[in-house]
């Protein structure tokens, strides 16, 4: 059975004007779990992450981290409460050095820890340590994604939100970051993963929800990873 919930969404609705992008969304992510969120473009996956993070106000419903209500709090206070979002498109500061990008990640740290503050990033991605003095914009796409994930991890969040982290990456780089997710889970960090690579996500995550048209349509387990037809059917369900 899953442990206590790290993240709970209850009846969340997000609107853009009069259009509902997410409707009556209820899901929970247990401590130390990876939960996947897949679905076609425009299904409301990114919107869900943005609503959790406070970037997009939720019109209705409850969002809780470790039992603490998050709705109507500012983005930076949610970051400081222990949620880190690796945004779509990575959003690293290309003009800054790798180290400066990581230092920015420390802004949301809730307390100081013994040892190298960048430890969580360097242990997972040693290349960041090697390139710490380089301009972030000069890194390859895969390395930039590693930097974006590392930057999120140095704040030592309870919950890591990932918005299509494999988008635009070479196959080898995709292997690298999926392997990293497993390692992040092993140290106890909870992950909510939004992805287009449905099969890999289903195989990795404890549970994967399929979001279609702003609503949860189906929940898949790791055993369904090889059932391509079931995944396709979930996408097409309407």
């Amino acid at each position: 059975m899953p442990e206590a919930a790290a993240l709970e969404l209850d009846g969340v609705e997000v609107r853009y004007g009069s259009v509902s992008a997410v409707r009556d969304l209820t899901l929970r992510v247990g401590k130390g779990e990876i939960v996947g969120l897949i679905g076609p473009n425009g299904a409301g996956k990114s919107t869900t992450l943005n609503a959790i993070m406070g970037l997009q106000p939720a019109h209705r419903g409850e969002i809780k981290l470790n039992g603490q209500a998050l709705r109507r709090r500012s983005v930076e206070s949610i970051a400081r409460a222990g949620i880190a979002l690796v945004p779509e498109g990575r959003r690293i500061f290309g003009d800054f050095t790798v180290e400066e990008n990581l230092r920015l990640g420390l802004a949301a740290r809730r307390r100081t820890y013994i040892g190298d503050p960048f430890g969580p990033a360097f242990e997972l991605f040693p290349i960041l340590s090697e390139f710490r003095g380089r301009q972030a914009g000069a890194l390859s796409g895969g390395q930039q994604q590693q930097l974006a994930i590392g930057r999120a991890l140095v704040s030592r969040p309870d919950l890591l939100l990932l918005d299509e982290p494999s988008l635009g990456l070479a196959p080898l780089a995709v292997d690298g970051i999926f392997k990293a997710f497993t390692e992040i889970r092993e140290v106890g960090t909870t992950i909510l993963l939004v992805e287009q690579r449905a099969q890999r996500t289903v195989a990795l995550a404890n549970r994967t929800h399929v979001l279609v048209g702003g609503e949860l349509r189906m929940t898949l387990g790791p055993a369904d990873a090889d059932d391509t037809e079931k995944i396709i059917a979930a996408y097409l369900a309407s």
Binding site: L55, V75, A79, L85, F96, R103, A107
Partner: protein, 303 residues
């Protein structure tokens, strides 16, 4: 008569002096633009308020007078952010710009009311006027304030560059200027970064108030208004997108103004703004992203 022949060392000194003052104003405007995406047209009225403070404290010791000038300008700068900019932070840039026009006129009207209590328009800031005296350097007369202006500008720019590159608040401010949304996502506190930019911008306005008042001790409600318009133009010409290009733009337009003024025949200096703005139009036609924006994406691409 060629333009070059009219430039002597004295003119060059004046050009550096005004360039330095305009560079400080450009940094003050550019810093706030960086974090708020707001062109603060009311920046000149901050300087005007500082100048009036200097005038009204003329009887005080010079140091106390200057400290109170800084205090008034920084307090007014913070109040402007708190009362006006913060509630409008999510408004469109056009709304914010027009609002700063309104603040500018409001502050000028307030200054006029305060000024006219003695029945006369204008106040004289006499205590720091001695800085305007000339000293002879190798046979060339240079006003003391020129050295002070260049020194203050260099000192302030170096100090600011160090703060921006070496400290956490500096890193957070640069991040916010580059991508505010992502900076907040990482836990950078928006209000703290904005307050930092507003305070530094206010300190720079205070310094400019002192330097301008030395050169022009007769303070009126439209004090520094024309300078602000010229600097805003300079900032756009240099490239408002980046602090250092905006600063260079401010310096360049101050520098060029003095040179053009010297080159124009005495009876035609009324055409100074026309000549300067004509140059600006030419520059903007040739380099729409800004004079110093080499290899950068155009400022307008950024929303």
């Amino acid at each position: 008569m060629s333009v070059l022949a009219s430039i002597d060392l004295q003119t060059l000194g004046d050009a550096f002096g005004l360039g330095a003052i305009y560079a400080l104003m450009a940094v003050g405007i550019g810093l706030v633009f960086g974090v708020l995406r707001l062109v603060n047209f009311a920046y000149g009225q901050l300087i005007m308020a500082g100048a009036y403070t200097l005038a009204y404290t003329s009887g005080w010791p010079v140091a106390a007078s200057i400290v109170s000038c800084f205090a008034v300008v920084v307090a007014l700068s913070l109040a402007m952010d708190r009362v006006v900019f913060r509630p409008l932070r999510s408004s469109s840039p056009a709304v914010m710009l027009v609002t700063t026009f309104a603040i500018a006129f409001l502050l000028q009207a307030v200054a006029l009311i305060i000024d006219l209590r003695d029945g006369q328009l204008g106040e004289v800031a006499s205590s720091i006027a001695p800085l305007n005296q000339a000293v002879s350097v190798g046979g060339v007369d240079v006003r003391k304030v020129t050295f002070v202006a260049v020194g203050v500008a260099l000192g302030a720019l170096i100090a600011l560059a160090l703060v921006l590159t070496r400290t956490t608040i500096g890193l957070h401010t640069r991040a916010a200027a580059s991508d505010f949304r992502t900076a907040r996502l990482l836990g950078v506190r928006a209000n703290r970064v904005i307050a930092f930019a507003v305070v530094v911008s206010g300190l720079l306005a205070g310094a400019v108030a002192v330097l301008l008042t030395v050169q022009n001790p007769f303070v009126q409600p439209d004090f520094a208004l024309e300078d602000t318009i010229i600097v805003l133009v300079g900032v756009v010409v240099g490239g408002i997108d980046r602090l250092w290009t905006a600063t260079l733009g401010g310096f360049a337009i101050g520098f060029v103004s003095v040179l053009v003024n010297a080159a124009l025949p005495t009876d035609q200096t009324v055409f100074l703004p026309s000549v300067v703005y004509a140059l600006v139009i030419v520059v903007l036609l040739l380099r729409p992203a800004g004079l110093f924006a080499w290899g950068r994406r155009a400022a307008m691409e950024r929303v």
